[in-house]
């Protein structure tokens, strides 16, 4: 039996520096990569993706991707669709923030406790989508 490459999901965070939700997207992706699903996901670098990184674009053409955007500009989702293909799943942090009890989450430079908690919530959503895309039961 040949040793086939393991199917993984590509995560693309907007990392927007102008708003704290961009930092949340970034932190959430690192949380998934380092703790929640280290064997099932890889990060695709959005700046490189935008600048013409063929490796990043090729990965996104052949493997499922999850985009994590800070705001409704949805730069990561639009870039993925433009350069590779429609993302398999698209998460927008501001949508997960909505609802009663919404509070300040800190700055783009430094998230406060609520911001870090929101990043954990987004990370769990990304991990859940990763499981769904890989056809696994949620853990």
């Amino acid at each position: 039996m040949p040793d086939l490459p393991k199917k993984k999901v590509g995560l693309i965070a907007c990392s927007g520096e102008e708003m704290p939700e961009g930092t949340v997207s970034r932190r959430a992706v690192r949380e998934v990569l380092e703790k929640l699903r280290p064997d099932d996901a890889v990060a695709l670098c959005l700046p490189l993706f935008l600048a013409g990184g063929e490796g990043e674009r090729a990965f996104a053409r052949h493997y499922p991707t999850i985009t994590i955007d800070g705001c409704e500009k949805r730069c990561a989702a639009k870039a993925t669709e433009k350069f590779s293909g429609r993302p398999a799943s698209a998460i927008v942090v501001t949508r997960l923030r909505e609802g009663p009890g919404t509070c300040a989450i800190g700055s783009a430079r430094c998230l406060n406790a609520a911001g870090k908690k929101l990043a954990e919530k987004v990370a769990r959503a990304v991990a859940s989508e990763t499981d769904r895309l890989l056809g696994r039961k949620e853990r």
Binding site: E17, R27, P47, G53, K73, A108
Partner: protein, 136 residues
Amino acid sequence: MKRRIPVVPCSGIGKSLGAVAREAAFILAEDLSPERTKIVALSPLVMGDPETCVEVSGLPAIAIDGCKLECAAKGLAAAGACEVHKIAAFDVLRRRRGLKPEGVSELNEDGRLLSKAVAEEAAAVVDKIVGEDEDA
């Protein structure tokens, strides 16, 4: 100079030097030169968001890149900055060989020191741009 100088970090997510570039941009725009600089996010810039592009069009700008692929510098040039001043975290690291930056979500102490050094080099570029503008 009436408009603030746009500063664009690469914000790469895979390696520490991307995080260093990002943190350096915050140090520059919030601590060292808040009146004269402004962070502009790379993603909307490259995606052609009109509100973002107008922030850099026709202005001298500073790109802070983490790696030699220089995504921020390329993005700024494509968006119409009149002059792109490049600061490269990997170059600054080469001159400070003792530092071993680690971490992405949270930089270690060496990462923070390197960020500060990168920001200080960028601040010197800001002084130069402003000086040239005043001389003109």
